[in-house]
Amino acid sequence: MATVTLKNVKKSFGPTDVIHGIDVEIADGEFIVIVGPSGCGKSTLLRMVAGLETVTAGDIHIGDDRANDKEPMDRDIAMVFQNYALYPHMSVAQNMGYGLKIAGLPKDQIDAKVGEAARLLQLEALLDRKPRQLSGGQRQRVAMGRAIVREPSVFLFDEPLSNLDAKLRVQMRLEIKELQSKLGVTALYVTHDQVEAMTMADRMIVMNGGVAEQIGTPLEVYESPRTLFAAQFIGSPAMNVLDAEIKDGSVRLGGVKIAPTDAADGKVKLGIRPEHLKPDPSGPIDMEVQLSEPLGANTLLHGRLRGSEEPFTASLPGVHRTSIGSHQMLKLKVASEDIHLFDPQTGTRY
């Protein structure tokens, strides 16, 4: 168990800068999710913490020690890889016990620890199998088992669930989270799936292009995204972002008042989450519906605003069987606390 601190951590591969300086302090036992689109540098950041990539600039502390120059094995971490990286020629038990064997533990202690981990992960019946004789979910568990038997201070996960089917993913998501809080081990978890990030994280780091756009709890990021990117990346369906204008103390879309605000006059980007829109015959937002997706619990309506080409999505609770069809006009409103305003130049929140 340990804290992890990153101070202005940067990474370049030759001339290309991949990570542009990340600062974060991770508390002991905290579950941190690093989330962002493909190629934004999530894996690179995680691998620097693991010691598999060198740190170009900045400091990484694990516990009280500066870890920059330590070998991976001396950092007291364990990592679960996306492809599991099991040793193909070893049985499940040998896979899990390999690190302990290298640490020089006597065989009976290794067996005891492996047995305990196997019980925790329901792998007892599989201990003598080779990795190729396991299903994807079972391999995933073995990789987890290999990480926990060594009782590290920090768990590192690099998209551990991305090779599993949707249902198993939901189940493993819960299991990993449960296991982590039971063991009380600090965890860094990389994913590009914002649902995973929302459900698992104590705090998340939203990354884009090698920059941390926002660091905060899932609700903080959802309720007050600090940048346009974070606003659109977190939340499903994604937030509507429109060109708007502030005049005389209210936000206006094409001249129509949407909601009052105390921001200064000028152009803004207006963000509205689809689920915050409510049908209202006297509402200020005029939407032309082009496609309706009934999901059961709610209905997604895709279309555009009247007189504009910008795509617009609304999510209404429940089923809307007949009342809303294609090419219908729909009037909507939004509460003033549910609107998000961003600087059109920098993309930061007002």
Binding site: F81, H89, G99, R146
Partner: protein
């Protein structure tokens, strides 16, 4: 699941396998049958007539002191050639695999010896170790070591082993290098996080993952040391001194073509065929079973 191609008629498949069957028949089955047939006779010294002796040639061979010595020589020779060609190849491949820049240059340079024909390689090494004009033997002389593979059987064996193994290092290197490159990087990284340092990782993770390649090379190199080293031995030692480098294949040649004892020579090729057949069966039955994970 094995994929099978099914043909409608029989003409096309027959045409497709005919060349292979033809070549095997001309260069393997016919000579092999001839050898088996001839091994049952003793020709007269002028080769005009021959006398049927049944298994007499075999009986004679198996009790012959020189022939048994040749068996031992062959065993030592092929074990040494296999080790000397595989271990340095693996070592070089590991070093090349660690390189990030320049691996291509290194690889290309290491492949060159393979392009040298065995007889030429033999002559090359012969010149270097020539007792009178050789560079290496001169330096050894300076160091106080009197190199003379013409008289010393051990030195002769060492020289033919090195000359035979030298070109093979390139060949083995290529296979080991390719195999190393296909070991998943994340598995190595997982082992590094698990606390294994370089050589520990090498012996507990990498080497086991290379075992299919190692096994393949083992078979290929043993066969090589039996059959393709003739040119090297012929140019360097001609089987001497006192038969100390006369491996089975060389003895077939020297008894048959030099000694003109075709019956015995044929019997020897038959024995050789059986030995190699047995070796291959043993290798596949006992070793291959352990290399698949």
């Amino acid at each position: 699941m094995e994929k099978r191609v099914t043909f409608k008629g029989w003409l096309l498949p027959v045409c497709l396998i005919a060349p292979q069957v033809f070549i095997s028949a001309v260069f393997f089955f016919y000579p092999a049958a001839q050898a088996v047939w001839q091994s049952l006779f003793i020709p007269d010294p002028f080769g005009l007539s021959k006398q049927f002796v049944g298994l007499g040639n075999f009986e004679f061979l198996l009790t012959d002191r020189f022939y048994r010595a040749s068996f031992l020589t062959t065993a030592i020779f092929s074990v040494l050639v296999t080790l000397v060609s595989m271990i340095p190849a693996l070592f070089l491949a590991v070093l090349a695999d660690r390189l990030i820049k320049g691996a291509g240059v290194y690889r290309t340079l290491l492949i060159w010896p393979y392009a040298v024909a065995p007889a030429v390689a033999g002559v090359l090494w012969l010149f270097m170790f020539n007792t009178r004009v050789g560079v290496v033997s001169w330096y050894l002389g300076q160091l106080g070591y009197d190199w003379n593979h013409v008289l010393n059987g051990g030195e002769a064996m060492g020289l033919v082993v090195v000359a035979s193994a030298w070109g093979r290092i390139s060949y083995n290197f290529l296979f080991f290098f390719a195999a190393l490159q296909s070991v998943p990087k994340s598995v190595i990284e997982a082992a590094a996080i698990d606390g294994a340092r370089f050589w520990r990782r090498f012996f507990t993770i990498v080497l086991p993952l290379l075992s299919p390649t190692t096994f393949f090379l083992l078979v290929v190199n043993v066969v090589y040391s039996f059959f393709e080293t003739f040119g090297v031995i012929h140019t360097i030692t001609s089987g001497g001194p006192q038969q100390s480098t006369t491996i089975l294949v060389y003895k077939v040649f020297s008894d048959g073509f030099v000694g003109q004892d075709l019956g015995s020579s044929s019997a020897q090729s038959v024995i050789l065929l059986i030995v190699v057949g047995l070796l291959t069966v043993v290798q596949f039955k006992y070793i291959e079973r352990r290399v698949h994970y």
